[in-house]
């Protein structure tokens, strides 16, 4: 029973860690940042 609990706990830790990492990456990628539009007028 104890080892089942440990395994479950470890899976929960991994799942939670992966969710945190994915959420941070998504936040970095999709949070509003630089305005990409810059009208080039050289020609």
């Amino acid at each position: 029973m104890r080892s089942d609990h440990d395994l479950l706990w470890l899976c929960a830790v991994i799942a939670r860690a992966l969710a945190y990492a994915a959420a941070i990456a998504a936040l970095v990628l999709y949070a509003p940042s630089e305005q990409h539009v810059f009208i080039y007028q050289g020609f």
Partner: protein, 377 residues
């Protein structure tokens, strides 16, 4: 109870950090970020600077083979257009077929001296053998509407120390530090665009042609659908090669360009000792001189027709020599070679007062000669 322990456990956050490192590597060191995109060859003038900055970053950071000689070209549209790899490669194959050279044209449309200074912070990663910095005098002229650093500098800024221009606030400084330390953060705008492109690809834009047979082909490509009309005006100038006819041709081909350079003449702030432009130039040349590569500062060809512009409508008489002296003085300070190419090309090699014709100008001939001289010596 278990859920609370899991959420707050140090091991959870430790593992999250490990996963974040892996996610960063999967995104920023693989084709997910650096494979061809449908947007990179865009001719949309609102997107072209972003696309070219992305391409420059790819040239620097995407894994690639590294032959013994690697030549990097820095600058803006003045060098982007006439020094496309295909034109240089053909000339290299003609004059030095045994030379194994990688050519990286890192130029970006509209890049000013501040943008190039920021881009140069990444050069160590590329580890070039030779760096050619293409400069024109007006690259050092600022206007309220055309500052000395624009989108490329914002997208590429890295560095632990402040550059020649102090950041506007602590937030900008922290942002730069985060970009320096963490690749996912550094490339987040490019990664977002690349991921969006993988998920929802657009109709791919045509790459810039590797060969132009005629000026009409060139005008057709650059001014889609108006090639014949512009060719007519261009031929009228060739038949009567005066300044007035050239301006007439430009009015047909690009009235906006004429307004732009007239704005430069009217409102441009010329570089003076200690001015932001000179500080950026100094930082740029200083960094290039400290790299393990050879650097050549190339004063880009200028349209000789401007000598007929005695009223100074389209240029500031005498400024070319002043700017060349400023650049030469800064280069001398760091022991960098300067090649004065301002008189290399005839008027018929130019699309306008600043830009050489891609391929048709023949600029690749003297440029490759200088490259071979530099890497062969």
């Amino acid at each position: 109870m278990m859920a609370r322990n899991v959420a707050g456990a140090a091991i959870t956050w430790g593992l999250a950090a490990v996963f974040l490192v892996l996610i960063t590597a999967v995104i920023t060191r693989t084709p997910l970020l650096w494979a061809p995109t449908t947007f990179e060859h865009t001719s949309d003038m609102t997107r072209i600077v972003f696309a070219q900055t992305y391409q420059a970053a790819r040239r620097i950071y995407a894994p690639a083979t590294a032959p013994p000689i690697r030549v990097a070209l820095l600058g803006n549209s003045r060098i982007w257009l006439p020094a496309q790899e295909a034109y240089l490669r053909r000339e290299l194959d003609r004059v030095a077929p045994d030379l194994d050279v990688r050519l990286d044209n890192l130029a970006i449309f509209g890049a000013r001296v501040g943008d190039v200074e920021v881009l140069s912070r990444h050069l160590a990663h590329l580890d070039p053998t030779l760096v050619i910095l293409a400069l024109g005098g007006t690259d050092l002229v600022s206007r309220p509407a055309v500052p000395l650093h624009n989108l490329p500098a914002r997208l590429l800024r890295i560095g632990w120390e402040d550059g020649p221009i102090a950041p506007s606030g602590a937030g900008e400084r922290v942002d730069r530090w985060a970009r320096t330390a963490w690749r996912l953060y550094r490339f987040r705008e490019f990664a977002r665009a690349a991921i969006d492109d993988r998920v929802w690809p657009q109709e791919p834009a045509r790459p810039f042609p590797e060969r132009f047979e005629t000026t009409q082909d060139l005008f057709e490509h650059m001014r889609g659908g108006r090639g014949a009309e512009i060719e007519g005006a261009y031929r009228a100038w060739r038949a009567d090669p005066t300044m007035e006819r050239f301006v007439d041709y430009l009015k047909v081909g690009s009235g906006g360009y004429l307004e732009l350079i007239q704005g430069h003449v009217r409102e441009g702030m010329k570089p003076t000792p200690g001015s932001p432009a000179v500080r950026m130039l100094d930082a740029l040349l200083g960094r290039l001189s400290r790299g393990p590569w050879r650097t050549i500062v190339l004063l880009m060809p200028e349209n000789p027709l401007l000598e007929a512009d005695r009223d100074g409508l389209y240029h500031s008489p005498g400024f070319s020599d002043e700017a060349a002296a400023t650049i030469r003085e800064a280069a001398d300070r760091y022991g960098l070679a300067v090649i004065d190419a301002r008189r290399w090309m005839p008027a018929e090699a130019f699309i306008d007062f600043d830009h050489l014709m891609p391929d048709l100008s023949g600029f690749q001939v003297p440029l490759v000669r200088e490259i071979v001289n530099a890497v062969g010596s």
